[in-house]
């Protein structure tokens, strides 16, 4: 035992060594600087050794080309799914897959239920109360078939963008397979996080554009770039249709009153134009009648419309109206053309509806909007397809609601209807993933297997319900249509006796415009959305709004390459629906 008092501190050599504060700071700073330089040099060396920049030759050690084939695609199987499974088996047999290999999968949280239920599980449909058999767990099935496990992480779909860009920056290689929005694909390609799958497509033939697995062409555009390179697999794809209270528009008394007030007949089979939408909003807003009696016996004031006016949906509706009015993002001189009368007209018409909207329309909340519509508190809306099924279980059943084409504008006396693909997602292979780095074929083949339409059909955990718009990109595939729409109500808005709500989609395909694949689209959407929102909430006037949209868009185009952006826009224009192509003279 040593008593601390016995230690002669004053005589210890260490404490006798005196330095000034200045010397101490100088030495510490020098040491710090040396360490700092070492850290930066180390990080730089690491990054220099692994990164790939667009358009430049790769210095990466990551394997980015398909492993040399030992078997031809035809010999691997008849369908994309068979070829995928057999190719993995062949790679395994050839010893090319490392022991303990697993696929790390980052997926949007709302889609996870489609592929991860346990076999034999049942769930209760939240809208109909019916018991539904869920599908088998696709990830387990893949592991059973190939012996390669899949670990799934879930995230909000917009945050997937941040994660992918982080992966591009850090090259951490956390995931091999990413669910992503097509809107942002160009950024992922430019950031170097998306693996070019062109060679793999040639080698394993996912049959996206040909054969019996054809994807709706307007969707397929999203998986390719204008140079023909292939980047991803069909994920979710959805668009919006117009819905209104069919029980009200078929009421003879209301029809007569409407005609008296507006001088034309109430559109029974859905409005043709946005002007009619506004007239109907005026007419039905605040309308009181027996139809307002809610299931619990209370009454509520009917609102004329429920079109979200938040930044997200405003972008969608603006694009629809902008295109329908004949708007183009660029003119032939590559100038951005947002500061014009077309944009003003679109935004002014959108704002005109605000007065007849449910107030909470400024917040996009589907859990609020669905009951609002189904409980007859709003007359009309634009929504996902599943609102039809949701409404069918409401107070008036399926007959009380009509599903119609998105309204249009008349340009040169011709009606133009457009529906934009907004929520199209895709699965990409992450270039820096651990398994991708070792054998990129495996995450690719997982994607090919998972998105084969036959496998996709099995993934539908809850056919026809809100979470099952997964795989709508296979909307021309009869197997998918049969499964997806099996539980949908008949659609009184479309010709009777046909396939119910799916029929609205068949027609809607004719008006679909492909995803706007532009670099920096995330930023552009925020720019447009916030400016529109500021206008709708009276923060600023129309001229300021349009000017800011134009200036901000010009800034993005200049920064990210106007020529390249113009080329991408040309690619988008190729997906215009026929009426729009005719309007702009596009062959």
């Amino acid at each position: 035992m040593v008593d601390s008092e016995d230690i002669d501190i004053e005589n210890l050599q260490f404490f006798n060594r005196k330095i000034t504060r200045r010397q101490a700071i100088a030495k510490a700073t020098a040491a710090g600087a040396a360490i700092g330089v070492a850290i930066v040099a180390g990080a730089g060396g690491y990054l220099a050794g692994t990164s790939v920049s667009p358009g430049k030759s790769s210095t990466t050690t990551v394997t980015t080309t398909a492993t040399q084939a030992t078997t031809s695609a035809a010999g691997l199987g008849a369908t994309p799914a068979e070829r995928a499974v057999n190719a993995v088996k062949a790679l395994k047999a050839a010893g090319k897959i490392p022991a303990g290999a697993k696929i790390r999968f980052l997926e949007a949280a709302f889609r996870a239920g489609n592929m991860t239920p346990k076999a034999g599980d049942v769930r209760t449909d939240p809208y109909t109360g019916k018991t539904i058999q869920t599908s088998i767990n696709m990830l387990t099935k893949w592991e059973d078939l190939t012996g390669i496990p899949v670990e799934i992480d879930l995230l909000n779909d917009l945050q997937l963008y941040d994660k992918a860009i982080s992966e591009a920056t850090t090259k951490a290689g956390t995931w091999d397979f990413l669910g992503q929005r097509i809107d942002f694909l160009v950024d992922f390609i430019n950031a170097g996080v998306a693996l070019d799958l062109t060679d793999f497509e040639t080698k394993y033939q996912p049959d996206i554009r040909t054969g019996n697995c054809q994807v709706v062409p307007v969707f397929a555009q999203g998986y390719y770039t204008s140079d023909g390179k292939y980047w991803g697999f069909p994920g979710c794809g959805d668009w919006f249709s117009y819905y209104n209270r069919r029980d009200l528009v078929t009421n003879p008394k209301l029809q007569s009153a409407f005609e008296t007030q507006f001088g034309y007949q109430l559109p029974v089979n859905g409005p043709d134009t946005w002007d009619q939408v506004l007239d109907m909003a005026r007419f039905f807003d605040g309308y009181k009648g027996t139809e307002q009696t809610l299931p619990d016996g209370t009454t509520s004031t009917l609102r004329g419309a429920y079109f979200f006016r938040d930044t997200w949906f405003s972008n969608i509706e603006f694009r629809i109206r902008f295109l329908e009015l004949g708007g183009l993002l660029f003119d032939s001189n590559k100038n951005v053309t947002l500061d014009n009368q077309i944009t003003r007209k679109a935004l002014q018409d959108m704002k005109a509806l605000v007065a007849y909207q449910a107030r909470d329309a400024f917040t996009s909340s589907w859990p609020t909007m669905y009951p609002n519509y189904a409980n007859k508190q709003v007359f009309q809306t634009i929504s996902w397809a599943s609102v039809a099924q949701f409404s069918a279980s409401g107070p008036v059943g399926g007959q009380g609601f009509g599903v119609y084409l998105t309204p249009g504008y008349k340009v040169d006396n011709k009606l133009i209807r457009v529906t934009v693909l907004y929520d199209q997602t895709s699965y990409i292979v992450e270039k820096y993933g651990k398994l991708t780095s070792a054998v990129p074929d495996v995450p690719y083949l997982f994607g090919q297997w998972l998105t084969d339409p036959e496998i996709s059909t099995q993934e539908l955990a809850n056919p026809g319900a809100i979470s099952d718009y997964f795989r709508t990109c296979h909307g021309v595939d009869e197997r998918m249509i049969g499964t997806f729409f099996a539980v949908w109500p008949p659609n009184p808005g479309i010709e009777p006796g046909r396939r119910g709500a799916s029929e609205a989609f068949d027609v809607q395909f004719q008006a679909l415009c492909g995803t706007w694949q532009l670099a920096g689209l995330h930023e552009l959407q925020d720019l447009w959305g916030t400016q529109m929102n500021a206008y709708f909430t009276d923060v600023q006037d129309i001229d300021t709004t349009v000017r800011k949209m134009q200036q901000g868009t010009d800034g993005v185009m200049d920064r990210l390459g106007r020529d390249a952006q113009y080329q991408r826009w040309q690619y988008v224009m190729k997906t215009f629906p026929p009426a729009l192509k005719t309007l702009h003279g596009i062959s």
């Binding site: 330095i19 040491a31 920096g520």
Partner: protein, 301 residues
């Protein structure tokens, strides 16, 4: 002897005192100096993750600084932040001071229990606080419900989509959460005041108001300054509450500097440009803090 020899060797070679500070220096380098130096470097480049690797990005000099300082949205973010800081910190200080004075002046049963309850909001995670206030101010929230019951008509004001009320709601949410902090500091300051001057003033016939204004308040000045600086610095970085309540809207009327920088640096991958904004804000905060804390620094003889 062997021990002495080793110490001498260390001293000769490195200077043992330098070795002692080395661990802290390493940590500082990793978490502070290198990222900060990197941020300064990046702010002088044209880098974005979607345009290539950072080390290959061209140097553009002060271009980002000029660009961001002339960006209307950045300027509005600064104004919004100042409004929130000014409104929230003033409210927090006023209410915190009044509460502290009440606790200091009156003795009542359950004082400790009440003090503990007052501190609860401070312990709530800001994201939860933001969500709670978003619910309260939504069209179908508590505020409209109360107003509907009182007025007898359906009130459905969309508080979070009207510029002035959205900003006020954010200020209220922040004040609700951080008034306890002010209360705590003020109360601690009051209890630490010397009692002699106060007693002497009372004996000499000073009113309670005069005692508070002329004796307590001047003596509380250092702690008030510290409290205001700490809260202002914290409020200046406000993110969670407005992001969850309004996401910066309507338009960009509640978009704070932190939300702005998060959006452009993380969501839109404009790292270099946003870095310039962060550096500008950092310099401004340092200058303001040095100025504000000047009265606390010892005066030269």
């Amino acid at each position: 002897m062997a021990n002495k020899g080793r110490t001498s060797w260390l001293r000769r070679k490195f200077g043992f005192n330098v070795l002692l500070v080395m661990p802290l220096q390493v940590i500082l380098n990793f978490v502070l100096i290198v990222p900060f130096a990197l941020a300064i470097y990046l702010s002088l480049t044209d880098w974005s993750p979607i345009t290539g690797p950072w080390y290959a990005s061209p140097i553009v000099g002060a271009q980002n600084y000029v660009s961001i300082l002339t960006t209307e949205r950045f300027q509005q973010a600064i104004v919004n932040t100042l409004l929130i800081v000014g409104g929230a910190v003033t409210l927090e200080f006023a209410v915190g001071l009044v509460l502290a004075l009440a606790f200091f002046s009156w003795d009542f049963r359950g004082k400790a229990v009440f003090a503990s309850i007052f501190l609860v909001p401070m312990m709530v995670i800001p994201a939860i606080s933001g969500f709670t206030f978003q619910t309260i101010f939504s069209t179908q929230g508590a505020i409209n419900d109360v107003l509907s019951r009182v007025s007898g008509t359906v009130v459905a004001v969309d508080w979070l989509h009207v510029p002035w009320s959205a900003l006020s709601a954010v200020i209220l949410a922040d004040a609700w959460q951080w008034t306890p902090f002010m209360f705590l500091l003020m109360y601690a300051g009051m209890t630490a005041l010397p009692s002699d001057p106060i007693r002497a003033a009372r004996v000499m016939g000073a009113s309670e108001r005069q005692i508070f204004l002329r004796i307590m308040l001047p003596m509380l000045r250092p702690i008030i300054t510290i409290a205001l600086i700490i809260r202002s610095l914290e409020a200046f970085k406000i993110f969670d509450v407005p992001f969850i309540m309004t996401q910066g809207g309507p338009g960009t009327t509640t978009e704070t500097i932190s939300i702005f920088l998060y959006k452009f640096a993380i969501q839109f991958a404009r790292v270099a440009w946003a870095s310039a904004g962060a550096i500008v804000i950092f310099i401004a905060i340092v200058i303001v803090t040095l100025w504000a804390s000047k009265p606390l620094l010892p005066k030269a003889e």
